[in-house]
Subunit: 306 residues, 2 copies
């Protein structure tokens, strides 16, 4: 396993816990991976800390610098979305270079609760509220059930330092406002920490989503086929689906032809309206959804070069 490290308490604790766990066999820690996002004033300090940390543990460290802002511009993504994509692409390269089979990252129950509320307030629908997955696509999150407070207590007791990211205190950033303002008020309303409850809700939603995604994949295979003009979906088959499955089938179809662009719920809604009308068309990210007879074709947009 390769561990992604920022130098913060979560990833430093993750690394130590992984090393401890690896003594029981079953896996080894192949090394650490640190990405300089080109976003923080403290990037150099964080990089130095990680080099020293890896050196002290006798572990190889893979470091890369990327321009997240440029990536965000290129793909029409928010800085947070671009940073996430760039980070996992980097971690996959780091894993390959260290011959690691898994990537471990230090998300905590705090991240889970914050992510849930962030997605909620932004109108997350089909997949967002499932939040952060404990294991998925080769990435594992062994400290997802631990709180940040628990990990910091563990490091303090072990006498291990970490670096603080001052940008985490800026409440103009939505995630930080959720951390420092919204969650404490929600805790007060509940009379206890609400992180475990939010994490559990998130986990149940993932469980539901897993089944619905599986059913949707089966339906997708049944109604979709590649045609000369793009991806073709059978309108009669689509129309017979319950809304929960139709949304997911349309989302999957649009993702397949989006060329990496973000597909949102509003695009699903607009294509659903076309499916219900069985007539007309609408532009969606990277393609156009157009009714041709008994088929919905997701193909190239008008005006684009064939």
């Amino acid at each position: 396993v390769v561990a992604g490290v920022s130098g913060g308490s979560d990833s430093v604790a993750l690394t130590l816990l992984l090393l401890d766990l690896s003594k029981h066999g079953g896996f080894t820690v192949a090394g650490l991976a640190h990405l300089n996002h080109g976003l923080r004033a403290t990037a150099d300090r964080d990089g130095s800390f990680c080099r020293e940390f890896a050196g002290r543990l006798g572990l190889p460290l893979v470091v890369e610098c990327v321009d997240v802002r440029a990536r965000a511009r290129e793909n029409g993504l928010s800085i947070e979305d671009a940073a996430r994509r760039v980070r996992y692409e980097f971690l996959a390269r780091a894993a390959a270079s260290l011959a690691a089979e898994r990537i471990a990252v230090g998300h905590t129950q705090d991240d889970q609760a914050e992510t849930f509320l962030l997605k909620l307030m932004r109108g997350a629908g089909l997949t967002g509220l499932g939040g952060i997955y404990p294991r998925r696509d080769g990435v594992v999150r062994p400290v997802l059930d631990a709180t940040r407070e628990q990990l910091r207590a563990f490091l303090t007791e072990a006498g291990v330092p970490w670096v603080d990211d001052e940008s985490n205190d800026d409440v103009d950033n939505p995630r930080n406002r959720i951390r420092h303002r919204v969650l404490p008020e929600l805790d007060r309303a509940a009379g206890a920490s609400t992180r475990p409850a939010i994490a559990r809700a998130s986990s149940l939603i993932r469980e539901d989503a897993q089944l619905l995604d599986q059913l949707s994949r089966e339906r997708f295979e049944a109604v979709a086929k590649r045609g000369p003009d793009g991806l073709e979906l059978d309108l009669a088959g689509l129309g017979g689906l319950p809304a929960a499955l139709m949304r997911r089938v349309l989302l999957e179809a649009m993702r397949q032809v989006s060329g990496g662009r973000e597909v949102g719920l509003e695009h699903v809604e607009s294509v659903m309206a076309v499916v219900e009308a069985r007539h007309g068309g609408v532009d969606v990210p990277g393609s156009r959804a157009q009714v041709h007879g008994r088929t919905l074709v997701l193909g190239q947009q008008k005006g684009s070069v064939r």
Copy 2:
């Protein structure tokens, strides 16, 4: 339709909007229904207001007084849960006495967002996050997509008074803290009102839940039957279900034998553990879940009279 009225802005606006809408035909307003929960200091004032309001509109008014605290004690419910049950039982009686086919209540988008966050912080899982249904079990909620602010602006413009419930300002009450503290902070994080986003998430979860509930009912019919000792569930059939369906089938089974007691997620979890072990048993609300050979029997608890 009979409209449930408290005297607050939401139900007063609901009544006027229903009367307006009824001019276009399709339904008539059979009357109003007001419940005195025996909880508020302002109950007499609210009752008088509703009598006067109904009189001014020339509509019959059904009034009842109930002791919600006693009901909460009897059924081991929270005051809020007991009040909700008592209210809908009363509204059903009021509808019957007025020969109304539907019950209309004044829930708003604000209630939807508050309910979602309340359920979330309390660890709602399977069904809770779907929030408030626009129409269900003979109850309709025509102003669920409107905000409280919109309804008050409408009343102010129309020159129609309503009564304020001062208990809504007490932030020691969890719902009020969510209304006055949590939601405004969440709005600040998002840079806009988050009520529409939460309402949309809630609506998507309802859509998903509708399909999963339907699939679960089919599975329940396949694995459950009445036996001499109680409700019998086939362990092999249960064991083969995806977790999302197993939880719902077990919840439905426990509800059928709970005698009206609240069945929670923690009970589902404990019975799932018994199903996985295929051995042993556990007490759940109103019954005991016990493995007998290839069957899980939900029957009377040990020590209870047969």
